[in-house]
């Protein structure tokens, strides 16, 4: 039976040429049960129609492997969610462990500290045997070192073997040195005394540093999990099941990963749309805020696309599945955001360079600090001073803050952008959007709706407007012309009564005619009326001329052989355009318009939206040239277009913003894709970029400042002047705070809300 045929799409791996594709195709075609196999070399996908009774997805995979190629287990959304869940679980476990290690260290440090202070109290000193106290402190410090701090030492050792130095290297060397010195002072105090030194111990330093650094890590991990919150929310939106209509008409709930292309899926009010498809029957309002950021539900009827993870509000409908798994809009958005989070902003370059050489350099500075103090300090204190400053340099110089400065801000802001329907391709795009000073808008489809709408409905003298609209709508409902659709939309918005039309006839290039309520109705251009021998009264002709000078298309209506009225149709400006353009201008940006229309229409629209500079009669091929023209003036140009014929201009601009309108996420030419067809998205994108780059700059400033001040102070540079030395414990506290403060600063971006005009 034909209906039993199933379709499977496999991602093929390892094809290097077109002949590989035919090889895989042949292997698949030979597999029993396969009716048709098609392999596309460019997309690396195989589409196979097969009889489920004779073949299974597993045997199909096997056939591909037998041909010498691989099947890529492309993670569908559900497995992205699963993978995320697994990683989350592991992170939660690591967090618990880290907390436990911190509490052990903190608890012991709280005992070790006062015990170490005893030596400052002469009365107590006389009663206590110092030797025994030191051994007691040693025993208390060992668990901190071996349990709580163990990771630092293993990590430093593993890194050392790989000739890589990480932040643990610094902590391990610092606390290790303090501990080993104390150990020697505990076990062989005579060695120190014989050289005129007091055998001081630094167990409190060791334990407190470890406790403080672990505290920093606990706070850091907690903050870090919040940076990807938006992404997790996005992945979690995916529906788990779909109600599929079986060929017999029976409805069945199936797990989302079993939904196939071509399945018919039912969606009831209040349910999530399971995957992407086209509505076949029914209508409803769908909340697409999760994908587009648009807060108002969108009306959907038969023939309209619906997207997985959106929320069905009012009605119930059935849709045919057109995309599953990684091809769905949601999966593409997730992928795009993930890609952006993996990219690095040019602003990060310096920090990257510094990070790469940072740790070994700090170790060298610490060694030299030790040597200098040892050589220059008075002989009786030179060893302890050299040691304390050596440890302080190592501990304060944590490159974490530097490493976290950019990526955390990018993670929060790209996630935030996706939440508001602004998809940022990479960190570089974010940085470019920040520098922009000129916004070039393509008129059609960007400032305007890009589809005709009725702007004027002018009944001739003596005509009843409501009745005329009813007649007109009756005829136009039969027509498929875009102008007719505009008239029908207008009539529906005016709630015109409906009437049956008979004898409909479309007259090519002129208009249409039909009989409504027994009266012949003609709608079309002036030639249609001319050829029907209908004479336009002077008043009507004057009104038509007025509409024409406003660059509108005029439809003439005749009823029962008499001119009955005019309809002015034009591409209308979106409701939000004026406010968004004003907002952009108030942000200090110059807004320029570009259109293929004649200068008259261009001037009209420009005036309407408050733009002073515009380019008219720009051919599609000349758009990129206009971008170049602006760039030649030294401007940094953001080009906003609807992405279809604007690709070269989007690519030429310093930053391209494509208005996806929810049709095609993968817009290669644009750095930023706006999911909603609304200029407000441009405001959101630029505002988000400004806030993000500002945050990154603050982060980098603090990180650099912290290290460039912290290291010399720890090394004792201020000692000759003020007699200041940095206690290693203070250094540990400062270090714990540095990365946490950078993270907290990045997390402030979570509070970003797009500016409303």
């Amino acid at each position: 039976m034909e209906t039993d045929l199933k379709t499977e799409t496999l991602d093929i791996e390892g094809m290097t040429c077109a002949s590989c594709a035919s090889f895989v195709e042949k292997s698949l075609a030979r597999t029993p049960g396969v009716q048709r196999a098609m392999v596309n070399f460019a997309t690396e996908k195989a589409t196979i129609d097969y009889l489920p009774a004779q073949a299974t997805p597993a045997t199909l995979r096997q056939a591909v492997v037998q041909a010498g190629y691989g099947v890529l287990e492309r993670a569908p959304d559900t497995s992205a969610a699963d993978r995320q869940a697994e990683i989350d679980q592991q992170k939660a476990h690591a967090y618990q462990q880290l907390r436990r290690r911190f509490w052990v260290a903190a608890g012991l440090a709280l005992i070790i500290m006062p015990l170490s202070m005893l030596m400052l109290w002469p009365a107590a000193m006389q009663r206590i045997n110092m030797q025994w106290l030191n051994y007691g402190l040693l025993l208390l410090t060992l668990p901190v070192l071996l349990y709580s701090g163990r990771e630092f030492y293993t990590s430093a050792w593993n890194g050392f073997r790989h000739r890589a130095a990480n932040m643990d290297t610094l902590i391990a060397v610092g606390t290790g040195a303090a501990f080993l010195y104390s150990l020697a002072a505990t076990v062989v105090p005579e060695f120190f005394r014989s050289r005129g030194l007091t055998p001081e111990v630094y167990y409190d330093t060791t334990a407190t540093i470890i406790a403080l650094i672990l505290l920093g890590k606990v706070l850091e991990l907690r903050a870090k999990t919040q940076t990807s919150a938006a992404m997790k929310a996005l992945i979690g939106l995916q529906a788990k099941t779909a109600r599929v209509v079986r060929p017999g008409g029976q409805e069945l709930d199936v797990p989302i990963e079993q939904v196939q292309l071509g399945d018919l899926v039912v969606v009831r009010p209040g349910e999530k749309v399971a995957t992407d498809g086209l509505i076949e029957e029914g209508h409803s309002a769908v909340d697409e805020a999760m994908l587009t950021g648009e807060s108002l539900p969108v009306e959907k009827k038969a023939g309209d696309p619906v997207f997985g993870a959106t929320l069905n509000k009012t009605g119930s409908f059935r849709f045919r599945v057109t995309k599953v798994g990684a091809d769905t809009m949601l999966a593409q958005i997730v992928k795009l955001v993930e890609d952006a989070q993996g990219s690095r902003a040019p602003i990060q370059r310096l920090a990257d360079k510094v990070s790469a050489i940072f740790v070994p350099t700090v170790v060298v500075i610490a060694i030299l600090t030790f040597v200098l103090w040892f050589d220059l300090a008075p002989i009786e204190t030179r060893l302890p001073l050299a040691l304390v400053n050596f440890v302080a340099v190592l501990i304060i110089a944590c490159p974490c803050a530097l490493g976290l400065a950019t990526p955390t801000a990018i993670m929060v802001s790209t996630g935030k952008g996706a939440e508001h329907g602004v998809l940022i391709r990479n960190a570089e795009a974010l940085e470019k959007a920040y520098q922009v000073n000129t916004v070039l808008l393509d008129k059609t489809g960007t400032i305007t709706r890009g589809e005709p709408a009725v702007t004027d409905f002018v009944p001739a003298a003596g005509q009843d407007a409501a009745r005329l609209l009813q007649l007109v709508a009756a005829v136009e409902r039969q027509s498929e012309h875009p102008l007719a659709a505009a008239v029908v939309r207008y009539a529906e918005a005016q709630q015109a009564a409906s009437a049956p039309a008979t004898g409909f006839r479309a007259i090519e290039g002129q208009g249409a005619e039909a009989t409504v309520n027994g009266q012949a109705v003609l709608i079309g251009n002036s030639r249609l009326l001319d050829e029907a021998g209908i004479v336009l009264p002077v008043a009507v002709r004057q009104q038509a001329d007025a509409l024409l000078t406003q660059a509108k298309t005029v439809l003439y209506v005749a009823v029962a052989g008499q001119a009955a009225g005019l309809i002015g149709v034009a591409d209308t400006v979106r409701d939000t355009s004026v406010a968004a353009i004003r907002r952009l201008q108030s942000m200090g940006l110059e807004v320029v318009m570009m259109t293929g229309d004649n200068p008259q229409t261009a001037a009209q629209v420009a005036r309407q939206v408050g733009i002073t500079r515009y380019f008219a009669e720009v051919l599609p091929g000349g758009k990129a040239g206009k971008v170049k023209e602006l760039q030649a003036e030294g401007r940094i140009v953001a080009m906003v277009g609807d992405g279809i014929n604007d690709a070269p201009a989007l690519a030429q601009a310093d930053i391209g913003l494509a208005m996806g309108g929810g049709t095609d996420v993968a817009m290669e030419a644009a750095g930023i894709t706006l999911m909603r067809s609304d200029l407000q998205g441009v405001v959101t994108a630029i505002e988000l970029s400004r806030q993000t780059i500002r945050t990154i700059k603050q982060n980098l400033f603090f990180a650099f400042l912290y290290n460039s001040l912290g290291i010399p102070i720890a090394a004792g540079l201020l000692y000759p002047v003020f007699g200041w030395l940095l206690s290693p414990m203070l250094a540990a506290g400062a270090m714990a705070l540095s990365s946490v403060s950078v993270l907290t600063n990045s997390l402030r971006l979570r509070g970003f809300t797009p500016l409303k005009p």
Binding site: N158, H162, A164, I367
Partner: protein, 125 residues
Amino acid sequence: MDTVEIIVTLVGVALAGFVLWYFFFSARQTASAVSSVSGVQEVDITVKGGYSPDVIEVERGKPVQLSFYRDEENSCSEELLMPDFHIRRDLPAFKTTLVELLPQQAGTFPFTCGMGLLRGSLVVK
């Protein structure tokens, strides 16, 4: 300057020199990718305090599959970044994470941990 000071100074300078040489100038472990039957260039990388191998040679235009096995729980290596390929991955501990990419241009492309301290590079020929 007494003898101890001279010894400490000499040892310190020598140690500093060693650190610089060891981390910046010593030879790296290089590995070339092995092409599988299907034409995919496969490389296994162990992540433990660093990447071994840390310099990976692959050919241009052929798909590359890097298998990162993270052999530790230490948080330093939990993230992998390959900025030139727009890849950011979490590497779960004691698990293998596959990273696929298609190098189109020749050059040296670094990969690092989340903070840029552990470093390796993909050399595309």
